[in-house]
């Protein structure tokens, strides 16, 4: 029990969410996309729909949860099957530079609350809460206390905050987590019968002239997205996903926007990579949210002593990248460790 109440380990990261977060969400859609509608009469009244109809609309509209890339209808169906009655709306965005969920929550409040009502009805929810990450460094961001009567829980503390969501919210029962962007698409599907043809992304980084949250068509390539927001400088690194866990890509023309793309970041760093070795400072151990010893695991891998990995609990690694972030020698700790820890496909079951 004392493990539960202890403040969790991690790092405070400067958020760099502004100015993208304050700006209105802009749209950047393919003009050629023909409007295909789902086979369901559009309605503004949720009372007209049954729970199963809402699930069916989510299926027909092809809505994908931006958090885990799963079809929304599967998540809803599963919640119904298992009689999960609690819904957590995820607008965490705990990685720096990324604000595509938070931005949607703040700027598209009507759609979000309509979508939330639909999800609540679909799973016959008894409780629901919207989770937002807010740490000390983004004081200028104003977050409402509640949206349409649903509490907005501000999760404070260190990155990675998503890992401790259930504990911070004090949830004892099973719950499902739905991304806030999926709510917007669900609302659109119900109100006007639209399929999900786009997604919300943050375009930011020190090379972007106008950092902003964008709604872009799925399948658009990154070059077009970067061009839309303007490159102030020639980037050396383009990342899809968050600044802590995203993937660095080589070819912006051949990389396309997918429903789970939450951010496109372009950085330029002039600093060269230095060949430092581990000096054993122990900072990685001090910050690891899973209470591992990243430097021991790293060394075990480097020295090919893989039998040590079990003892060091390497499989508990969640790949948050915190150890690599703090490492003064800039060692690729989390990259090496997550390669040897099990890829966990069920981390998002969100049942505890």
């Amino acid at each position: 029990m004392d493990m539960q109440n202890r403040p969790h380990k991690g790092v405070y990261l400067q958020q760099f969410k502004e100015p993208a977060l304050s700006r209105e969400i802009r749209t950047f859609l393919n003009a050629s996309a023909s409007e295909t509608l789902i086979e369901h009469p559009a309605t503004k009244e949720l009372d007209d729909l049954t729970a199963w109809e809402i699930v069916d609309i989510a299926r027909q509209a092809g809505i994908v949860d931006e958090r885990d890339g799963r079809p929304l209808y599967q998540k809803l169906q599963r919640a119904r099957d298992k009689e999960i009655r609690a819904v957590v709306i995820d607008a965490m965005d705990d990685e720096p530079f990324v604000s595509s969920q938070l931005g949607v929550l703040l700027h598209m409040r009507d759609s979000v609350s309509f979508g939330l009502k639909a999800v609540r009805k679909a799973v016959e929810a008894e409780s629901s809460v919207i989770a937002v990450y807010k740490n000390l460094t983004d004081a200028e961001t104003r977050i409402p206390g509640s949206i349409d009567g649903v509490r907005v829980a501000r999760i404070g503390g260190k990155y990675p905050a998503e890992l401790h969501l259930s504990r911070e919210l004090g949830l004892r029962k099973a719950y499902i987590t739905v991304g806030v962007c999926a709510l917007v698409f669900l609302a659109r599907a119900i109100i006007s019968g639209q399929m999900q043809k786009s997604c919300f992304i943050t375009v930011a980084g020190n090379c972007i002239a106008n950092p902003t949250n964008l709604e872009v068509s799925l399948g658009m390539n990154l070059s077009m997205v970067l061009e839309r927001c303007g490159l102030a400088d020639n980037p050396t690194r383009v990342v899809i996903g968050g600044s802590m866990t995203g993937i660095s890509i080589m070819d912006t023309d051949k990389t396309l926007i997918s429903p789970t793309t939450r951010a496109v970041l372009a950085f330029r760093e002039d600093e060269k990579e230095r060949n430092y070795t581990c000096i054993g400072c122990g900072r990685c151990t001090a910050v690891c949210p899973q209470d591992l010893d990243p430097m021991f695991i790293y060394r075990a891998v480097k020295n090919r002593r893989l039998s040590m990995l079990g003892f060091l609990k390497a499989e508990k690694c969640v790949g948050c990248g915190t150890c690599s972030y703090v490492c003064p020698s800039k060692l690729p700790l989390s990259t090496v460790i997550s390669k040897y820890s099990k890829p966990d496909g069920e981390e998002d079951e969100a049942c505890n």
Binding site: I247, S248, R274, I279, D293
Partner: protein, 322 residues
């Protein structure tokens, strides 16, 4: 657009090894200023000899091992700065030079160089000097005598408080003088107040974990309280034991060497405590009054075990609960 494939995370903390080692060097420099005030410019020459010896050995060993020599790696400079501070101001240059060379070429590089060394190089260098030249290392000039640059034979030397305690004698030094460093002893280790300021600076900068030296000092205090060596009251025994010898200096600059200390808070506390107990055992039963360096070397060999014990305990607790 020339893109480079990089590993996540794509943002990094700005600290690098140079920051940590630079902090160490910054904290060591006031001790040299103090040394120059007490003993004149010979202290600076000793420092240069030691630092040059360490740095040169580091470079030669890197060449010998066919490794890339990183000019940004300041760890050999830290070693070079620590060694003369543990010795008297009148120490011959060759002692310092050989100690530095031993520290790098025997203690550090054979185990794999920076970050891989099992033992603290500075402690190894000092242990080497103590074993080879005890006469030169254990005679200290009194403060405010300017030591000539070359001919040091004529310098009048006295034993330190640590030596008096070792011999079972009654220490006569004034406690206020010991706080300020106005007693005979190794150059950098006498001024307790300055050392405590260094400790505060380094722990505020998070270069060293405060827990570890604190546990070390607590262990020493407990041992001194329980088993006073001289015929003095227990309180005085604690004060004299803590302020004599290289104890506080070692607690600040050598005990917290990141490479050779454990990584977890609980294991650091245990390690600090264990080094404290062993240091006192060396003082009681050892042959030399530099007990700390030997105790540190002994515990260095076990430091990783302290972490493993904690890992094992954590997994045992979880297993029991499930």
């Amino acid at each position: 657009m020339q893109l480079i494939q990089r590993n996540a995370p794509h943002i990094r903390h700005s600290d690098n090894p140079k920051t940590l080692q630079g902090d160490m060097i910054l904290a060591l420099l006031p001790l040299y200023v103090l040394g120059v005030c007490f003993y004149g410019f010979r202290v600076l020459v000793t420092m240069l000899v030691s630092v040059f010896s360490c740095w040169l050995c580091d470079m030669l060993c890197s060449l010998l091992r066919r490794r890339f020599f990183n000019f940004r790696d300041l760890s050999s400079l830290v070693t070079g700065l620590i060694i003369p501070l543990m010795m008297p101001a009148s120490v011959p240059y060759y002692v310092v030079a050989f100690s530095g060379a031993f520290a790098i070429a025997v203690i550090k590089h054979p185990f794999g160089g920076t970050g891989e060394n099992l033992f603290n190089p500075a402690a190894g260098g000092i242990a080497f000097a103590v074993a080879c030249w005890p006469a030169q290392v254990f005679s200290y000039p009194v403060t405010f005598t300017t030591i000539p640059l070359w001919n040091v034979d004529s310098v009048i030397t006295v034993p330190s408080t640590a030596h008096t305690l070792k011999m079972g004698g009654l220490p006569s030094a004034d406690l206020g003088d010991m706080l300020l460093g106005l007693v005979a002893g190794p150059v950098g280790t006498v001024s307790i107040l300055v050392l405590l300021a260094c400790l505060i600076y380094l722990s505020v900068r998070r270069t060293i974990p405060l827990l570890q030296p604190l546990c070390f000092l607590i262990a020493v205090a407990l041992m001194a309280y329980a088993f006073p060596r001289a015929d003095i009251s227990r309180t005085y025994s604690v004060l004299y034991e803590m302020m004599s010898g290289s104890l506080v200096f070692g607690a600040v600059f050598m005990l917290n060497d990141p490479v050779t200390s454990p990584k977890r808070p609980a294991s650091r506390a245990m390690y600090g405590f264990a080094v404290g107990v062993v240091t006192m055992l060396f003082r009681y039963f050892g042959a030399f009054d530099h007990g700390f360096a030997f105790a540190l070397l002994l515990m260095n060999a076990l430091s990783e075990e302290f972490d493993y014990v904690i890992v094992r305990m954590a997994s045992g607790r979880k297993g029991g609960a499930a």
